[in-house]
């Protein structure tokens, strides 16, 4: 009775630099578990962003590249085009993907590049100390929206999953979270599905994972889970927004 549990092989033994309770750690483990289960560690290349997760390259035990801010999808395109046999994924935060890298992610998705993106949305710039991100909520205080984000001044938060799902090119686009065990299970299923679509050479895949940032939200890790549920999830609705079959004809 009961289950065993151990660190996946694809995850290194290096303790992470992430703040206590930061859900990056959970997402890293899910990616590593999926890579172990698919047995692709030897042919996978990960691409780290610029942001808290830049040091992700220290936490995985397979080939890794570190991109310039926002450019991971372009690097992934470069790899996947010259080495389609490699499994390629980018791991990016909301500043990296939805702000400076918006051009790259939209065009990679629109070209149907056959790589996977793990997009961690925690509604703030973490590494640089809590500035407003494109995904910061209305009224949410950050170091660059000290009186709270004003949509009339800087617009509404960007919904990346919906935005990318609107593209005609077939792809797998889902939004998940990891703030509760039941959500962690679903997030892992989605991440695995994304990698499987890549292994089939089928389409571009992206899983947006709504995540916490206790330090820059100024909350305890446990309160951050609650705030995510109460404030982020109503706006960033979970679900699979696009799958290759119902997204028009399959990518050839």
């Amino acid at each position: 009775m009961g289950k065993t549990f151990k660190k996946p092989e694809a995850l290194s033994d290096q303790p992470t630099h992430y703040c206590p309770g930061c859900t990056h750690g959970i997402i890293h483990r899910l990616v590593a578990e999926v890579i172990d289960e698919l047995g692709i560690r030897g042919s996978t290349v990960g691409i780290a962003p610029v942001g808290c997760a830049v040091l992700a390259y220290n936490y995985f035990t397979f080939d890794f590249q570190e991109a310039a801010h926002g450019r991971a999808p372009a690097m992934a395109t470069g790899i996947k085009r010259v080495r389609p046999d490699l499994t390629v994924f980018t791991y990016q935060g909301d500043g990296d993907l939805a702000s400076i890298g918006m051009g790259e992610i939209i065009h990679a998705a629109n070209r149907g590049e056959k790589f996977t993106t793990i997009f961690v949305n925690n509604a703030v710039y973490g590494m640089t100390g809590g500035q407003m991100a494109p995904t910061t909520m209305p009224g949410q205080r950050t170091t660059t929206s000290p009186l709270g984000r004003k949509p009339l001044d800087v617009g509404m938060p960007v919904k990346m999953a919906e935005l990318l799902a609107a593209l005609e090119t077939p792809s797998y686009i889902a939004r998940q979270t990891v703030i509760k065990p039941k959500y962690v299970k679903k997030a892992k299923k989605s991440i695995k599905k994304a990698f499987e679509y890549q292994l089939e050479g089928r389409c571009f895949s992206l899983v947006e994972v709504v995540s916490t940032c206790p330090t820059n939200w100024g909350m305890t890790p446990v309160d951050a889970l609650k705030w995510t549920e109460d404030t982020l999830l109503p706006y960033y609705k979970l679900g699979e927004y696009k799958t290759p079959t119902n997204g028009g004809n399959d990518a050839k």
């Binding site: 560690r41 290349v45 590249q65 570190e66 372009a74 690097m75 470069g78 046999d85």
Partner: protein, 358 residues
């Protein structure tokens, strides 16, 4: 294949394939879009990769990703586009990844013009991106030389694990000249298993590779910069290329000029010679490493009173020429930057004015 009449841009494209570069990412920009148009047809014929990116910024990183996983790769662009690739070039150099960049220069700054220019000299040799880095920069003066330099660029990039940049001006890209390709010289790519992220299975190794440029520890970053600098010093010892012209005469003026501009100067020198006026020239074929020693020695010639840097820019290479001559001679500039190439007659007038003055 024998001699073929070919447009510079297309010859550069074909040369890349002949050099075993089967991966091309680019963005259209006058005056070099023909490279992409040519390779869009040609790459499928050789099972190569052709992709038009959404911007030169993205293209710069497609090059980085592809190179970092061990592929031989190149891109071509023009001045404003190369500005956008500046950050990626800095990253690729820091990561010690080989890659070939071609800049078919056009008039600047800003949107500038689409006619030939050499106004990206600083950008190419002094760093268009951030941080201490250098590129091995080659400057062809003809379509034939562009082909030969392209085919040298790939092995040089891999030898130094550093990007190589070929700078031609709009003319090199646009004009047609007879070209002869070395017969299918496909320079074998070097083994990159030691550093490339080409997949652990590919290398049959369980040691993973990491290509990154972040060094938060100051000692590590300093050591990394010293390692890169050592490469540039090696380039200075091993990779300098220049062409002397009429230096065995008793020349009164020493011209330093490269690319298309140097061909115009050759014509001017020949015409002056007929008038009994001797002018010598050093033509840098590599802009970095710069032919410092050659220019320093050429300036020592007894009969020579003045040096003249002839550039299609407002005077950028002149700073290096002055640096190398170390005060032995006054160094003057002559050039134009609107995109119309100075004529031999204009160069002759400039030379005669100098002779009168000095």
């Amino acid at each position: 294949m024998g001699k073929v009449l070919m447009k510079g841009n297309e010859a550069i494209a074909e040369a890349a394939i002949r050099a075993g570069c089967l991966n091309y990412f680019a963005y259209p920009i006058t005056p070099q879009s023909e490279v992409a148009e040519y390779l869009a047809k040609r790459m499928p014929e050789v099972d190569g990769v052709f992709l038009q990116g959404e911007s030169e910024v993205a293209v710069g990183y497609m090059i980085f990703g592809a190179s970092a996983c061990g592929a031989r790769v190149m891109t071509t662009s023009s001045s404003p586009g190369v500005s956008l690739m500046g950050e990626a070039i800095s990253y690729i150099t820091a990561a010690q990844c080989p890659a070939v960049f071609v800049n078919i220069m056009r008039g600047g700054p800003g949107l500038g013009g689409i006619l030939p220019s050499q106004a990206d000299y600083f950008q190419a040799t002094k760093g268009g991106g951030h941080g201490d880095y250098r590129l091995l920069v080659m400057a062809p003066a003809s379509v034939q030389e562009a082909v030969e330099m392209m085919m040298e660029a790939f092995p040089l990039a891999e030898k130094y694990r550093n990007p190589v940049m070929l700078v031609g001006d709009g003319l090199i890209g646009q004009m047609m000249e007879p070209v002869e390709f070395p017969d299918n010289l496909s320079i074998p790519a070097t083994n990159k298993d030691a550093w490339a992220t080409n997949g652990m299975d590919t290398r049959k190794s369980d040691k993973r590779n990491l290509v990154k440029t972040l060094y938060l520890n100051p000692e590590e970053l300093n050591a990394h910069n010293l390692l890169l600098k050592a490469k540039y010093e090696r380039m200075k010892q091993e990779a300098v290329k220049y062409e002397p012209y009429n230096l065995d005469s008793a020349y009164q003026v020493l011209i330093v000029s490269y690319g298309t501009m140097s061909r115009v100067c050759k014509t001017a020198i020949d015409m002056l010679k007929d008038e009994g006026i001797e002018v010598g020239m050093v033509r840098p074929q590599t802009l970095f490493p710069f032919p410092e020693q050659a220019i320093f020695e050429a300036a020592a010639c007894e009969s020579c009173k003045v040096a003249l840097s002839v550039e299609m820019s407002m005077g950028q290479m002149i700073e290096d020429v002055e640096r190398c001559i170390k005060g032995r001679l006054p160094v003057k500039w002559h050039g134009k930057c609107g995109g119309d190439v100075p004529t031999p007659e204009e160069v002759i007038d400039a030379v005669k004015r100098l002779i009168a003055e000095y």
